[in-house]
Each structure stands twice: as structure tokens, then as C-alpha cells.
Symmetry: C2
Subunit: 161 residues, 2 copies
């Protein structure tokens, strides 16, 4: 699940991700492999506790917490988009402690229905960046998909493109 979450963050335009809980070398290796193959800059960091990450971020940036209990995305997305500060997007589903609601600048509901952190994050970033992820070019990629009507075509560039 965390792998899907981190890869969705990357594909939809985040510049990096921080995860907490238990360190996961397999996750870090997978993400490193994806960045090495598919390009772009994306950092994955581990932090022992979420509180330090959120409080540190709040010194210069803004915090968005995705939760089905928050304000509806369509009602707050323009305000978030217009805010020039860097954003930290907090996701964690049912495991998120109540304290996060108070620390977040925005608690945002990507629908008020239960679904998935992965879908919430992807649709939030898609809306925040106005679809930029859909055609994004990742620099320095070793592999590049050539979109096809049927089948798979992948071009390889030994030095990246």
C-alpha cells in the first residue's frame, strides 16, 4: 500500500515523500528503482515520528490533511492552489491521530465516502496541479513508454533523455 501511495505521489507531481512507522528497505529500493528507470527527481525519506515532520514543515510551508471528514475538495481547492507556500500532504487513513486535524492548515475530503489513501492522494494532486501529471515528462529517464493503441512499447535510453 505504501509503495502504491509513494508511486502515485511521484506520478501525479509530488517532489518527494516522507513515510513514518517502521523503516521499509524494500519500499525504498522499489522507489529508487522506479526513479532510476523512469526519471525525474523524487526523494523518499523516512522519519521516526510524524509530529516532527509536520511541525518542521509548518515553519515555512502549509499542511493539507486528506480525510473523508474534511471540507469538500471542490470547495477549497482554489484557495489551496492560490496559496504560494510549499505543501505537505498528509495521508494515513484510519491510522492518523486526531491531533493532525488541528495541525493541518486544511483538512480536505476527496469525497466524503470511504475509499483509499491512494485514490485520495492521486485525485487531490491531479486537481491541485490541474492535470499536469497526465502528460508529465520525467527528465533523465532510462525507460520511456511510447503510448500505443494496443500492446507495449518501451524505449530505452542508456544515458537518459
Amino acid at each position: 500500500m505504501t509503495t502504491h501511495l509513494v508511486l502515485a505521489a511521484r506520478a501525479f507531481g509530488a517532489s518527494g515523500a516522507t513515510y513514518t512507522g517502521r523503516r521499509d528497505p524494500k519500499l525504498e529500493e522499489t522507489v529508487k528503482g522506479v526513479v532510476s528507470d523512469w526519471g525525474g527527481r523524487f526523494s523518499l525519506e523516512f522519519a521516526d515520528g510524524w509530529r516532527g515532520v509536520v511541525q518542521g514543515w509548518r515553519r515555512s510551508g502549509r499542511v493539507v490533511h486528506l480525510t473523508m471528514y474534511g471540507l469538500l475538495l471542490r470547495d477549497v481547492i482554489s484557495e489551496i492552489r492560490d496559496d504560494p507556500a510549499d505543501k505537505l500532504v498528509v495521508v494515513g487513513g484510519a491510522k492518523v491521530p486526531g491531533e493532525v486535524f488541528g495541525l493541518a492548515d486544511w483538512n480536505v475530503a476527496v469525497t466524503s465516502q470511504p475509499h483509499s489513501e491512494v485514490s485520495a492522494l492521486a485525485v487531490f494532486l491531479h486537481e491541485l496541479l490541474e492535470g499536469r501529471g497526465l502528460g508529465a515528462v520525467f527528465e533523465g529517464a532510462r525507460l520511456r513508454v511510447v503510448p500505443q493503441e494496443r500492446g507495449k512499447r518501451v524505449e530505452e535510453s542508456p544515458r537518459g533523455v
Copy 2:
């Protein structure tokens, strides 16, 4: 993962889902519980094999296969949206057999980057239905979130709303 996928399908406007592979009573129970609590009509079905589902669907509807190797979403979404037939959206990541590429009416890439079936499905439905999921009302819900700036507020309706 399948639970997240099915709940994302429901939240973003699908009328039902069919899963294949191994029957999963826990998945079925979770989804049944979500529909009973949060309302709307949504059917979850199990099928022994994917081929019968896809071929049966093709008799009256159209098939969209989400794959990072397909045509870019932004290039084909209007065509898919304008097609009046009911759509079956096939997702399965790396486990999808090559044959699906040939049976699909559209192979669609929700970005040409690796991410997640969950994020691909959510963003696809979000675009197909032009954001309808974001404020959808699910009829007959026992529970209803009242969007809040902070904290959680859930109203309960014993007979559904």
C-alpha cells in the same frame, strides 16, 4: 488492495465491480458493510475467470483497459466520454494477460508512469464523470459525513436519508 480498488470505484461513480482470482469473503463483507452504511447502489460480483466477464460485456458495452502502456488519457477521454455505451474498466496491473490489450476498445494510460491501479482507476473515473464523484450523494445512507474544517462529524439516520 482489492478493497481499496472496489471502494474507489464506488466513491468515484462506478455502479458495480467484478473481481476474479480467488473468492474473498472478507472483501465482500467489507464492501457490503460500506454500501449498507454509506448508501447508494453498488454491486460486487465474483467471477471465476476474467475472460467470460470481458467477452460477455463486449456484447452490449465497451471495454476500457487501464495500462501505463496505452494511449494518454487526455488524448482519448473525450472520445470515451462521448460514447454512450456502458463501460467496463479493466484494471489489474502487472497481472493482466496480454490478451486484454486486444479485447479492450481502449487501452488508456493514466500517465505513462508506474503508480497504482487504485490511483489510475480513481483519476480515470474522475475524468470520465467530470468530477461527479466529488460531491455525490449516496441515497439510503445510514451514515453521512458533515464536512468540517477540523474534526469529525457524522450524522446517523436510522432509516437512511
